[in-house]
Assembly symmetry: D3
Homo-oligomer: 319 residues x 6
Amino acid sequence: MTHSYASGRLNLPFTGICTFAKAPHQPDWSALDCDAAILGAPFDAGTQWRAGARFGPRAVREASTLFSFGHAGAYDHEDDVTYLGPETRLLDMGDADIIHTDTEGSHRNIEAGVRAALAAKALPVVIGGDHSVNIPCLRAFDTEGPIHVLQIDAHLDFVDERHGVRHGHGNPMRRAAEHPYVTGLTQLGIRNVSSTAREGYEDARRMGSDILSVRQTRALTPEAIAARIPAGARVYVTLDIDAFCPSIAPGTGTPSHGGFLYYEVLEILQAVARRHEVVGIDLVEVAPDYDPTGSTAILAAQVLMNLLGFVFHASSLGG
Amino acid sequence: MTHSYASGRLNLPFTGICTFAKAPHQPDWSALDCDAAILGAPFDAGTQWRAGARFGPRAVREASTLFSFGHAGAYDHEDDVTYLGPETRLLDMGDADIIHTDTEGSHRNIEAGVRAALAAKALPVVIGGDHSVNIPCLRAFDTEGPIHVLQIDAHLDFVDERHGVRHGHGNPMRRAAEHPYVTGLTQLGIRNVSSTAREGYEDARRMGSDILSVRQTRALTPEAIAARIPAGARVYVTLDIDAFCPSIAPGTGTPSHGGFLYYEVLEILQAVARRHEVVGIDLVEVAPDYDPTGSTAILAAQVLMNLLGFVFHASSLGG
Amino acid sequence: MTHSYASGRLNLPFTGICTFAKAPHQPDWSALDCDAAILGAPFDAGTQWRAGARFGPRAVREASTLFSFGHAGAYDHEDDVTYLGPETRLLDMGDADIIHTDTEGSHRNIEAGVRAALAAKALPVVIGGDHSVNIPCLRAFDTEGPIHVLQIDAHLDFVDERHGVRHGHGNPMRRAAEHPYVTGLTQLGIRNVSSTAREGYEDARRMGSDILSVRQTRALTPEAIAARIPAGARVYVTLDIDAFCPSIAPGTGTPSHGGFLYYEVLEILQAVARRHEVVGIDLVEVAPDYDPTGSTAILAAQVLMNLLGFVFHASSLGG
Amino acid sequence: MTHSYASGRLNLPFTGICTFAKAPHQPDWSALDCDAAILGAPFDAGTQWRAGARFGPRAVREASTLFSFGHAGAYDHEDDVTYLGPETRLLDMGDADIIHTDTEGSHRNIEAGVRAALAAKALPVVIGGDHSVNIPCLRAFDTEGPIHVLQIDAHLDFVDERHGVRHGHGNPMRRAAEHPYVTGLTQLGIRNVSSTAREGYEDARRMGSDILSVRQTRALTPEAIAARIPAGARVYVTLDIDAFCPSIAPGTGTPSHGGFLYYEVLEILQAVARRHEVVGIDLVEVAPDYDPTGSTAILAAQVLMNLLGFVFHASSLGG
Amino acid sequence: MTHSYASGRLNLPFTGICTFAKAPHQPDWSALDCDAAILGAPFDAGTQWRAGARFGPRAVREASTLFSFGHAGAYDHEDDVTYLGPETRLLDMGDADIIHTDTEGSHRNIEAGVRAALAAKALPVVIGGDHSVNIPCLRAFDTEGPIHVLQIDAHLDFVDERHGVRHGHGNPMRRAAEHPYVTGLTQLGIRNVSSTAREGYEDARRMGSDILSVRQTRALTPEAIAARIPAGARVYVTLDIDAFCPSIAPGTGTPSHGGFLYYEVLEILQAVARRHEVVGIDLVEVAPDYDPTGSTAILAAQVLMNLLGFVFHASSLGG
Amino acid sequence: MTHSYASGRLNLPFTGICTFAKAPHQPDWSALDCDAAILGAPFDAGTQWRAGARFGPRAVREASTLFSFGHAGAYDHEDDVTYLGPETRLLDMGDADIIHTDTEGSHRNIEAGVRAALAAKALPVVIGGDHSVNIPCLRAFDTEGPIHVLQIDAHLDFVDERHGVRHGHGNPMRRAAEHPYVTGLTQLGIRNVSSTAREGYEDARRMGSDILSVRQTRALTPEAIAARIPAGARVYVTLDIDAFCPSIAPGTGTPSHGGFLYYEVLEILQAVARRHEVVGIDLVEVAPDYDPTGSTAILAAQVLMNLLGFVFHASSLGG
């Protein structure tokens, strides 16, 4: 991100077209010359309670402008680092095309977007949409493996099949675990009753998952959490906004009380970014119309921009 | 509906379990002994803008309790008639089972519910859900024809196929027109840009539709509108809440300004019920979470209860 | 109302303490030296659906400041009249004391406020609260009769007694009709199912009510409506905000579609004020928290200020 | 609760009639054959600030469906227990009849419901309504004593009488303490200014209350809290949703900052259920229309279902 | 606008970056090769009641995507015309830079944008912001005159100066009338009390304004209204969303009951576009956060797209 | 505050005119005979994201009535102290006059109010408005120094000048630090990206600021925080509501995740009040319309009333 003061523009957050972080829009996916490519995946037909995550990409983009004051990067006084300075090149790919009534077709279009970002050697950053969009995201990594999946979520999402459904928002981690190029899963924040029954937990553990509830995660330091991921693993981060406490993330389909607070997740992400290469990111389940205060979308934008800052700061330090 | 004062219960609207009009719940669809059977069809994956109609059945049921003061029927001082007295037997079937990510499976379950009502010789009354639920509703009439479809809607919903989509909420009237047992369509309230392009209008007219905008409808009396439906036709009414002005129906997926006001639709329905046999009803596209005032669901309940009153009052007068 | 520009204050609507129309607050009810005295009656335990009218007085007061631009009166270019100029003296009495769980005690306190206004020869203007607050208001007129009651409302409110309830918001017009000093009622806007059953309508007509629905009212001119009130009658106006269409008044307990639009009521009130002495006013059932847009409270304030303008303009012309 | 997969129904949370946890509805209170009987008590005329708790029962029932995925019970991976499996029989009694303007009559009807549940040897579980509904609940225990009351609440609710009010939502714990069969009270979460003045605290302590603020409670372990209740005491739990932090429970009449977070209350309830017999439950003051996100009702449902799970799991282990 | 089906994209309304009507974004104002150039003017420090119009441009852009179904233009079956087909070239200029606390600086930046559009021979279309943004818009026409201003608004906005304020949202029409190149004003919809007092009306009429209230406008046909504008006049249209009834436009700073309904304004605009050259447009005072239903922004987008359609259809027919 | 029970008034929170804490309104600023004078400063043109803080004073006043149960003071059972008893005399000054479009004029009027309070030897307590209102507040202390400023806020607000802006809501702490009578600043809660860039932090530290993030503050006790303020310093407290976590304070212009929880701030304020003389207070950035639950305004009122209680309790103990 470059700053705009030199160009004579104050560029307050409430002005301007809403791309993610006011990054340039590049609708030509064969021309993604950037470090990170942001893709909207506004698909929400995989939900089992409230829909509305189709407006997640728009809401997160709009909220991201709150953090775009025209500065050259974001100064963090605690870390004494300016993140996302002009050396980090972001592009907004716009949204994958969604076909109503057609889950498979919509998923294919999302997969194509992630493949385009990967082909351009850019970090793919996908904004959902419901958690089913993780399924096409991970499919696109078939030639990028091996990867380890770090899921931060209230729900295990490990249902195999029920009434024929295999690609809803209760299934993605099961689908992930089935990929030969996914070497393992770390699943943080899992709590309460959900669409995954007891056998799902047993399957997950058998297939290599490390499952921690919010309380179990809290009992450990961020560094200890990061260390549970195998050393050297290249990590794909999938962040369901309902991992957070409904107090700060009510705008989501299936809120679950007892979730993470802001710094708990942020510090885990920072620790992971320091220790591991992050090769892909999705942030899902922001359903903005259920939060008239806007806090949920602001949270999503704030976490995503910080995570990107951590990732590129870590990579700038070597590696 | 029987009144509750004799039984010692004031039964204020805000008390009690929310079935439609506080009618008995009959989950056993092989035992539908009633005049009208209410079925929820909470499917909204057919939408092209805002989702949320999956909560339509719950919201309309809840709003319907506002009109259930424990009286034996609803007295209308303008008509000097007590509608929906104890002689009219309503049952609430509950909801069709919905399978997320699976449009065809969900539609099949809706179709099964309508077939069950028809098999019991009850008037099927379906609360959507998006307008795509009309597709399985009309499928269930394959042995009940011939029927004429009266659509009250902002949108023509006459798209044939686009990107493979044939069963979304932009397609139902095209699908209806294709049925051999649908002898014609009357489409009222159609206005503004929508998913149907010029060729859709041409197709509709060619396939026998009578299309009137809000302004064209207003220029005629309710009786004249009713008279445009062929004499003797048995009428299926499909009512999209977005036919109404967003001023009274903002809680819907694709609001369209310039819509009908309350009495305009009510008087058409009353005129149609007087002149024609009504053989099936669906009311769709109530997305309650977009209307924090609750007006939209109250409108839907109020229209539906009045329509039922008109239908059974007309049938009680002979026919 | 005096204007504030001379005193060096712009006094924009969003500034200042919220009394009605920014009139002076006079908590000492023995010192009401004014033409009209505004009393809040924040009681809502008489409701049968949604409560919340207890916040009606605060909301209407706050909305009234929108019409207080610091001018000396309100200029109406259609009438070419400046209403509510400095010659009209308003005072805000604050609220009657409400005792939760105690309907009779709360009503007594409201009655005391109206009696205080009447004792001071001021026009009592009561802001509810639910429509049951009309009961104590009219009790206070026992030495002020004879009066005619003009009700503008969706509901007849003519229930005699049910389960022992005689002072809820479904009863006030029945109670009014029982007073020997109430010579008749004109009930406008009555429509749809409500807590009053057929026998209530019959009782009302027998006891002297003139009942008109919205459609029946619309078929007449405002002057014709005003002329239905006996010549020379001194009129008490009770205005239930749900008389209006939910499109402009969703913030109320029991919204009823098909209601009046703004000018329909305004012109009736203007015609009545021209032809009759208005001796008391209540405006009830504003439940502001059901209308996040604020339109309902703005409507209530706008109608009330216009009505006061009409009343004092008419009295200034003589009569 | 039995699961529905065998019956061929996916039964997603957003489908179906809203009884509590989709339990069967049993309106015949003489036929309550179950382990726990859920009763709605939609009375809110006892409130001193915002009303709206009359819609608490509906909202909590609707939210409870989010936790009803068609599974046979709710698997908790932290406890490795499936709670509320098919062996636990729940019934929803519907609502007590409420009589507007009549506090005593409404309370009598609530009392009758609790007596019916107790007569059937079912655990009575009452969903308010404001906290005054606890008064009739505890009256029904006159032949069930001795009991100890565990209150979790922001407010002490220990006002004796003020302006004649003895049965409002500021009085229930005083009324409880007066019963000879209530052997003591434990009052947790009490904080901030409220309707109870200093003398109320003094009275409470004199009459046997153990009062702890949120901070005082936090300084102890859940087990230590549970141990403050006399060993062997049979415990009635009254849970006011405003005990929780407004961050997760804004939908209530009198929010009070500084409240409990989710696991703090959950762990206390789990500890109490392990150590004591729970003989009755009420959960009050959910006013859903003040929380457009739905989080408050979801919290109430989540806490109530967990508490029921703890109670019946404990009883299944012996005792 | 070109359609996207050929390019293999369904392009549903809820997908994609939100420029106006999904037109291309052209931030380089020296390269505006188009027929109409859309400029956001997110300034709202000129308001006297509720602010929030700064988010008007974003909301109107987002709502405009609802009318962008990927078709080549918008087919209107009543007119049998496809408006805004591929021959009409729209560009979105983004927003003028706003400087908080600095009215004059912000206005200068808006003026620069309008000058850029005019220099490119494009029709300038400005989305406010509050009505004060009309002041810099009209300043930019100093070399484009003579022009006639058609204002559609609830308020006259004709305050000269008060407490030094000359460039707030109550002043623009006075400022307009002062320009030598503004030959006259037609002011429609003016009603109710506002910041303009009696002397403002007198000044306006003296300076050449034709003022009509809503009721006065309704008494005339659209064609008669259009004919009140001098023949041959080149017309600048300034549309304050509060001209409309709060029932369809509650999301605005100073709502005023009794406003226009949808077709009333649309038909006037269509008549004006047929009879006059439209040389500039602004649409102001959409404050989206006061309308949780989204209806207001949808109305603004719908009116603006129709007006553009009328203008370019008229110009395509000759002239 | 004196209690009202003796006077025969229950005075429930929802009744009565909304001054702060139901204190008397004194619009004559030359007659401020009180201990603390409350002034509204409804100016929000200094904001860089969402406006709406102009309604902060009204909302905080209304919320403050929730804590006004008619008692003589507020009993705190944890401290065993009755705060704000009848010996503490509060007056509500109403609001400073605001001039739209004119930042300097509005600020002057705020400054005049604070000077009036100081002249009367009353503690000035200003409710914003955006944080720019702190600029005129501190100007009024030019003859009251030396003072130390304690800022509790998410943002450093230390921008010197940008595009000519020096008096927006990103500048006040810079302006404060420039005053010779401001001896130092303690800035707590500072986090995340904001309008202040790295050089602003460097300037602040150079000019004497002690900056602590939320996490850094949390690592210390309240007493240790208070001890960082120089002994004997007279303290001006400026509290930006966005210092708090958006979970409890979403109703603000620029929410920032990771903020303080309730007791964290309360205990710091209590510790500071015990150790230092508090000479002025402002509480800013409550934008109530972004929080439909009302929690933010309740928080502001609750914090402000507690802080006043701490200040006057401390002063009553000597010093």
